[in-house]
Amino acid sequence: MSRFFYIRMALTNLKKNRQTYFPYLLTCILTICMFFIFQVLAYNDGLNHMGGGKDMAVILGTGSYIIGIFAVIFLYYTNSFLIKQRKKELGLYCILGLEKKHVARILAWETIMTYLFCMILGIISGFVLGKLVFLVLLKLVNLKVSLSFGLAPKALLSSMTLFLCIFGLNLVTNIFHVRMVNPIELLRGGNKGEKIPKVSWWLALVSVICLGSGYYIAIVTQNPMEAFAKFFLAVILVIVGTYALFTAGSIALLRVLKNNKKFFYKPKNFIAVSGMVYRMKQNAVGLANICILSTMVLVMIAGSVSLYVSQEKTIRYRFPHDLQVNKLESVEQIAGIDRILEEMTADSKVSVADEFYFSYQDIYTYKEDGKYVNANEGMYGNYVTMDSVQQSSFTIIPLEDYNRIEQKQVSLMDDEVLVFSIKDSVKGNVLQIGEEEFRIQEKLETSILGKKDPYAIFDENILIVKDKEAGERICRAAGLQPEVNGWTLEWNCDIDGKKDDCVDFSYAFVDRVHNEISSGYVDSMYTSLSGWYISFGGILFIGIFLGILFVMAAVLIIYYKQVSEGYEDHERFLIMQKVGMSHDEVRSSIRKQVSMVFFLPLIVAVIHVMFAFPMISRLLVMFNLTDIRLEFICTCVTVVVFALVYSLVYMRTAKVYYRLVR
């Protein structure tokens, strides 16, 4: 036999099986395309050389790993479905006299051809789409830099290798399949009836326990850091619970339905319920897959959209004022800053408002038996650890500065303080620090110094004390040497004007302060914006892309389910028509069966998202996002949009199914 024989066979096979192969090829192409785009972006030299671009590259690199892992699992799963569908055909070849090694050779040619086909189309579409995606990404992360989307050889190589491995793995599986079974079995294929399985109460219990504890963790965990640590535990519990629920739960449900004679012996229910029972196990896993993918899509997109939409607000939280200089040593430096500001505003459209400064000292304490103690290690910057979350920090400010800033005439005794607690965490009228007690004269409700936020990650408090001596007494009580930390000054101010002007102004200001003032850290909201856009835009970008990928996977699973069941059910509905079932009855019973099967995962996914919501919003607190109403709206919109897409897919595939059955 000539080699061309195998090639020809392989080609005809692909053509003959196009109804099932076309979606598979499309998935391969899209997966390759996405992986390639992410790889190119991650390896982009321009991105690496620009400020904040490194983070972006890391985010994109992680994204491409996720796509890679997903591609392996998903394409393997789809392939095993395809080869099951083709068992009969392969069995026929064996009977017609092809040896198994010949069949293996045909399969190998098929794989080579599909690999080349998908790779070429995937890379081309990746290249074309990539340019577009690149523009979208730059827009999302607010970068005006012009970068080119090049054909990175590294990205090309890694894509080709990864998918070569995946296709190779699939080929080996297929050949193994062919080797393991004899032709008769191959001919008969996979359609042996499934007995209605016994209700596994054990499994039902597992599903209840897993889902219950997953939900419980999601609802109960209050602390954002804890939420982060337990998030994956909850996810795993819910995934296991979902599989168990669909396996045990669907069996139990159908049993109950079947035993209810009044319900069961109605024409539509009779056919729908029996059809579902027949494919119970297969259905359960497929539905659980669809449900989990849907949940992932919903959580991911809702989360990243919330983050992106609220980013300006979030930045506000981090920077209560537009310009800030802290750790200043002397009032002369403040005068220096004022001078710079005056000079700059003279020839700028930007105006200055709310300028103020104060001296302060920070202490960090743990709460123990109602006392604040042991403030050894300071917390600098944004390093978030379990430790720092349990700390309570106090910013001590002398009354003199407070009265000046707020234009008030408050007076305090030596052991009296005013408290402004961001999370309202200070209870009672007495503040006990170490072994000393301070009377709280007033708990302030509002202050220019900060904003209250019950969902804040850190327990931050501001203490107004009579004078610096009183402040130092507090430091000593907490176990600190006040001389080590010392008093420093913080200067804040807001600016008004067009956004672009403000950005330019801020950059210039930061530059000048940095050069002209000998100490102090200068920072501004506008100069930090670009970094934030990069992180949030990057997260949204990946969220949306992975979302699309998972939606695609769910769609494909739905499609394959419909197609395979359509082929199987064709015979069945023919018989029913012979026994006296009309076309309309067939149609309506199909609709019932299909819709029962397909809307179940969506409903469960929405329930999952409902329970996940509190946990997600607590996780988002880590990004300083605390607007629950906004998160809720974003989640609702995501759910509605997803449900629409899902229904659309359902309608399309139901049509395919009906065409096959008829």
């Binding site: 012979k578 006296g580 079932m581």
Partner: protein
């Protein structure tokens, strides 16, 4: 009184683009009386299954009429044809046509469920039939768990449960071993003696020898008929055999 009248039935199959025409039935006329047991014999391709499908209203004739109990099948609207079929006809197929998704009992119930009968009534109807056919023990099993003979008896039960006017059987013994065939044929005879009208298509001489009348179809027409009269099954068997021999050797118009 005749239950089924078939007048000048003609069926021409045309390929999709009107190219070739194949004449399956040229001109078939016969009647079946109430309580009769008629077997239709003929070689493969003689048109007997086409005839049965038309009588079953599964297929439409090119010309001619089928009248069942005074009703012309071609006058029934498409929407009502399924209901008509369900009420008046019972089917037994060569390959059983039981549904794997249903237990034996639910398979038998299928036509009644479609007719929206309550469960109690279905059960009441099933019990005596199941007893008569000896399938009471397997009612809760699934088709893939029982033997071919049991499957076919279940299919007979499904055909009987609507108390149809006419039972149509298409090669009912075709997929059965001899023992199971005998058992099925005896059941058919019993049913017929109880008054059930049966029309059976077969090419098994043994199956046909149980019938009261045998019609031979060849080249799309009723070629010959044999009445049982007072003959025993064995006598009828040899009569059928010799007729078939004549049919195969001498009677062909184109040989």
């Amino acid at each position: 009184m005749s239950l089924l009248e078939v007048h000048n039935l003609k069926k021409i199959y045309t390929t999709r683009f009107g190219g070739n025409q194949v004449q399956a039935l040229s001109d078939v006329s016969f009647t079946v009386d109430q309580g009769e047991y008629v077997a239709i014999m003929g070689e493969s391709g003689s048109g007997k299954t086409t005839l049965l499908n038309i009588v079953a209203s599964l297929d439409k004739a090119t010309s001619g009429h089928v009248v069942l109990d005074g009703m012309d099948l071609s006058k029934i609207k498409d929407k009502e044809i399924s209901t008509f079929r369900r009420k008046n006809l019972g089917f037994v197929f060569q390959d059983f046509n039981l549904l794997d998704t249903f237990s034996i009992q639910d398979n038998i119930f299928l036509p009644l469920v479609l007719a929206r009968k309550p469960f109690e009534e279905m059960k009441k109807r099933l019990d005596p039939i199941a007893k008569q056919l000896g399938i009471t023990d397997i009612l809760q099993k699934y088709p893939y768990e029982v033997s071919g003979g049991q499957k076919q008896r279940a299919a007979v039960a499904r055909a009987l449960i609507t108390s149809p006017k006419l039972i149509l059987a298409d090669e009912p013994t075709g997929a059965l071993d001899s023992k199971a065939s005998m058992r099925l044929l005896n059941i058919f005879s019993e049913l017929n003696q109880a008054g059930q009208t049966i029309l059976m298509v077969t090419h098994s001489t043994q199956a046909a020898s149980h019938a009261g009348r045998i019609m031979f179809i060849k080249d799309g027409i009723v070629f010959n008929q044999i009445y049982r009269g007072s003959m025993s099954n064995d006598e009828l068997y040899s009569k059928i055999s010799s007729t078939l021999t004549v049919l195969a050797t001498g009677g062909a118009s184109d040989e």
